[in-house]
Symmetry: C2
DNA sequence: CCGCCCATCTACCAAATGGTAGACAACCCC
DNA sequence: GGGGTTGTCTACCATTTGGTAGATGGGCGG
């Protein structure tokens, strides 16, 4: 399968981009095919249904996301440094592969079964993150919150700051690389304050 | 128009709910009609096209949102009290009319022209909010941030905490009224820390 | 009482969409 | 050299979808 894999990988790339930016339902097999200069029957040769294509996109993307989180955690210290490392990793991903984060939003919007599939892959990481936050709070190195709700808040803030392009423009900011850097700084500042222990 | 308005209002209600939860493209005129026990031609009698229906839904929703924000601002004091009042108003809305916030997300996702339409209505409020935050920072009553990015962060966090139901469930929390109260408390705590001036 | 208007419907249309079946060419291996 | 496999295509199908045109019945006003 490695030989002809060029086409199926190109299909997955195009599908990821379109699903993550235009949405799953707004993306037709014909428009994807047109972008790739192939026929939709070729897509259906590699992926028997449109849902199967989505499933393959999610599988690959979830793996890539998990890898990005893992690499963000490598070398990270404790407490805030670790949170910062992960947030920076997500922003790096946003810079290189914005469609991935767009897909995360889209899949969450679609609900089960796509959302379930994505979550099954990311769940171990989410549990580790939650456990880590709880341990830091128990050790008194981080202000006490419900770790799960804190995770949701972090997720919401980070993903929103990265993907809510229309709202960003409405606020007078263009979605440039420079703006992304500033948004990252803001998110880190906000989260650092929220997590800090104060006397 | 008041006489026959029963049907067109019911259409708008059903459309809001479906657009806000399933998405615009995933909602067909036929399925909306079925829910209302009418024919899609009846929908097209009141709204000439599906896009016109969306536009009408946005117009009504944006007005309702603006009103909720305004009412949140009434009676509010200064600084943090004002931010808290607005956040509480949004959570009240989330409890009563969750589909409204779902629509906000969906419209932002769709981009122009729907996003432009929504933003045109909310822009004056966003400017007031931004100006307010800037004035508070200038007066030294609030930690200094870029007011526009802070607004985006607040928007992202609040909307995410309210609407990211799949992620919430993945974190082991059911989207109940009780959970909404706890999420509100968390968001307020997080934002309060972020905005606090510290010595 | 009748005509007009409104609101809902039936019938229909064209295009889009996801999908199936088989043709065909290139390549590889026996 | 021929048969089989792979990957791409054409042709086609059924259903869905957004929309149009005109029929119909109820209600209201002159």
């Amino acid at each position: 399968m490695g030989g002809g894999g060029g086409t199926s990988d190109r299909i997955l790339d195009a599908a990821l981009t379109s699903f993550g930016s235009r949405g799953f339902e707004a993306t037709s097999l014909d428009t994807l095919a047109k972008q790739l200069d192939i026929r939709k029957q070729t897509i259906l040769y590699w992926f028997p249904t449109k849902d199967a294509l989505l499933s393959a996109v999610i599988e690959r993307s979830a793996a890539e996301l998990a890898q990005a989180f893992e690499s963000g955690l490598e070398g990270a210290g404790e407490g805030w440094a670790k949170v910062e490392a992960v947030v920076r990793a997500v922003f790096r991903l946003a810079a290189r592969r914005p469609e991935l984060l767009g897909l995360v939003r889209e899949v969450a919007r679609l609900g089960p079964p796509p959302a379930t599939q994505m979550i099954e892959v990311l769940d171990p990481l989410m549990r580790r993150a939650s456990d880590f936050l709880k341990a830091e709070m128990d050790a008194g190195r981080m202000r006490r919150h419900d770790p799960r709700l804190l995770l949701l808040a972090i997720y919401s803030t980070v993903i929103g700051m990265v993907t809510e392009v229309e709202v960003l423009k409405a606020l007078g900011e263009e979605p440039t690389a420079r703006s992304l850097v500033r948004r990252r700084a803001d998110v880190l500042e906000l989260l650092r304050s929220a997590l800090r222990i104060e006397e």
